[in-house]
Amino acid sequence: MWKNELLRSRAFRLALAFALAITAAATVVFTFIYLQISAAAIQRVSDRLAFEAGLARNESDAELHLRIEQHLTSDLRRLDFVGLYDSSGAVLLGDPAALPPIRIDGRAHLVGSIPGPGAARAEEGIFVAIRRSDGSILALGRSLAEINALRESVASALAISLAPTIVLILVIGAFFARRANRRLANIHAAIGEIVKGDFKQRLPVFAELDDVDLVSRDVNLMLDDIARLLEQLRNVGDDIAHDLRTPLAVARAKIERGLARGASLDDLRAAMAEALDHLDRAAATIGAFLRVSAVEHGRRQGRFAPVDLSSVCTGVFEFYEPLAQSKGVAIALDAPQLALVSGDEDLLREAISNLVENAIKFTPEGGLVRVAANVEDGKAGVTVSDSGPGVAPQDRERIFWRFFRSDRTGPASGNGLGLSIAAAIAKLHGFSLKVEDNAPGARFTLRGDANLGGPTATGRSEVTEAVVAPV
């Protein structure tokens, strides 16, 4: 089990491959070094033997004999050979006991085995043979046992140096494999918990931030998002349930009371009328909620056409001016120039209407609502500002959520969906919608993409284009 796991582990398999590679590389390097060294040694021995043989060719018999004697007494290791043979090859003096089977040409030759007094010594040697003036043959040689011994020591050095390296690599590999396995097991366990529904669980991330950590961190960020969305969804669910149940409960109570205690037809009628109001409120909530969904999931871009936000603002202003006046709120329009965007005019009118309606709703008597369409940095937009209580900084994002109600809702009515619908419409268009402090009051800004010009624009901006073009 553990063995299988080890072999399956990527870390351990990498270590194994690494050990093989190290072995192969080291073997190649050592072999190369050995070949270089042995070739050089053989060359050196061959040169010396040929040189000495050349010298001996002309030596007197006495000198030669003395040298052979000296050699026989001093070469205890039996590595060097000097031998004198008669023309038939029988040994006269020195060793080896028989003339090695080489050509007598004064050049170095490699022999596979060195003839000995008994059996031949099974070792390689290099020999040089020359024919002296008296017809005798002088052979000089050296055993290659030393050099061959070098090969063995190189091989054993290789083994000695490699073995611990490989063991070390495998141990480290196993260590990392185990650690990785343990981490994966932790991650696996965490994912298991999350799948079971514990969205507070996060994947473990260590300080070192390696590749696994980076993936875990990204997954964690994703989980944060999902958890937030789920929470939002839950809140929306609760809010919808509340917004539907409350009017349904009231309607039910009214009908029940009307049926049980309605003394007259008029009583019953009054109770029914009240119940109807509350049912309408529930229906309005569903309708508005579906509206947000429809806008959010709508694929209406196909119908996008150039829309002048200034003229939309003018229409919305005309529509809401009487309402503002009836509330004692001053309302001002500032839409002096063409402000073109690509969009759905009906939806943009709805978004701007919601902003204006919202502003009028929250502005106290004597206050001011200002509706402005303009072009900033080449982007057309609409600003709706009021002198109401404003939006608390912590609510400035949440205010666009579905069904969100801040404290500012307070006495004013409405199901809190106007801003959500406006936000959904802005999102569908790829526009930004934000709220700022108007000191005092709130300032909502809907800002579109680049102001449309050129081919898609209508009359007025084509003129502008024509003026700009030659510059």
Binding site: A283, L290, A294, G298, R300, L323, D346, R349, E357, G418
Partner: protein, 234 residues
């Protein structure tokens, strides 16, 4: 309950709706307003009844037992049947509305709706033919010159803002008929959604103040749970 039933025989209405409870309520309400009503539950039944040609207005549910009610519209229109059709649907998105109107519907109403709203729209469809080319409108004491853009009540000239003029014109083209807030929003202001405030009532209030001078009887009256009506003698 205000009595809006007018004298004389009203045209027949065919209601194609598979939800029994709702169909019965619609029949009850329309009959109370004086319309003969025929009910159909399926697409085939509905088509047969519509082809018989007795109905002046069709009320068609978009979804009938899993069948697409809109195919009734397209079929009838292909056959050259031009009977006005009101589409009712639980689908309320703008896209669905556009699809309904494209298929040959003349008006579109999302469920749940007020029965008075339905009645008002059926009435509007059944009496749709008005002289659109007229340049002068008259309704009771009111007179409107569409070319000069001037309005009088009796001898008194009334100064109206353009938006008030448009609103009054809408009422004068539909005297004594219920006009709902949704109809005003859609037809006068091109609004495809219902504002959450009483903005329509404010517009009506402003218009009323101008056309009803001190002591004069109120011409535009509220109809409870439905909307408004320009109340004049015909």
């Amino acid at each position: 309950m205000p009595q809006t039933a007018s004298p004389g025989v009203k045209p027949a209405i065919l209601v194609i709706e598979d939800e029994r409870g709702l169909a019965e309520e619609i029949r009850y309400e329309l009959q109370a307003e004086g319309y003969p009503v025929e009910l159909a539950e399926t697409r085939a039944e509905g088509l047969r009844a519509a082809r018989a040609g007795a109905a002046a207005v069709l009320v068609v549910d978009r979804m009938l037992h899993g069948e697409d009610g809109l195919s009734i519209l397209t079929t009838l229109r292909e056959e050259g049947n031009a009977t006005p059709i009101l589409v009712i649907s639980a689908l309320s998105s703008v896209d669905d509305r556009i699809r309904g109107l494209k298929a040959g519907g003349d008006d579109y109403l999302a469920k749940p709706f007020e029965l008075r709203e339905l009645t008002a729209r059926v009435e509007a469809l059944s009496r749709r033919v008005a002289d659109a080319r007229a340049t002068r409108l008259r309704a009771g004491p009111l007179e409107m010159d569409l070319v000069e853009r001037a309005v009088w009540r009796g001898e008194r000239r009334i100064d109206l803002l353009p938006r008030e003029f448009k609103l009054l014109e809408y009422f004068m083209r539909r005297p004594n008929r219920i006009v709902t807030r949704a109809m005003l929003l859609e037809d006068v202001w091109n609004y495809r959604f219902l504002p959450q405030t009483n903005v329509v009532d404010v517009h009506i209030g402003n218009l009323r103040r101008k056309i009803d001078a001190g002591g004069e009887p109120r011409l535009i009256v509220n109809v409870r749970a439905a909307g408004f009506k320009l109340n004049v003698e015909e």
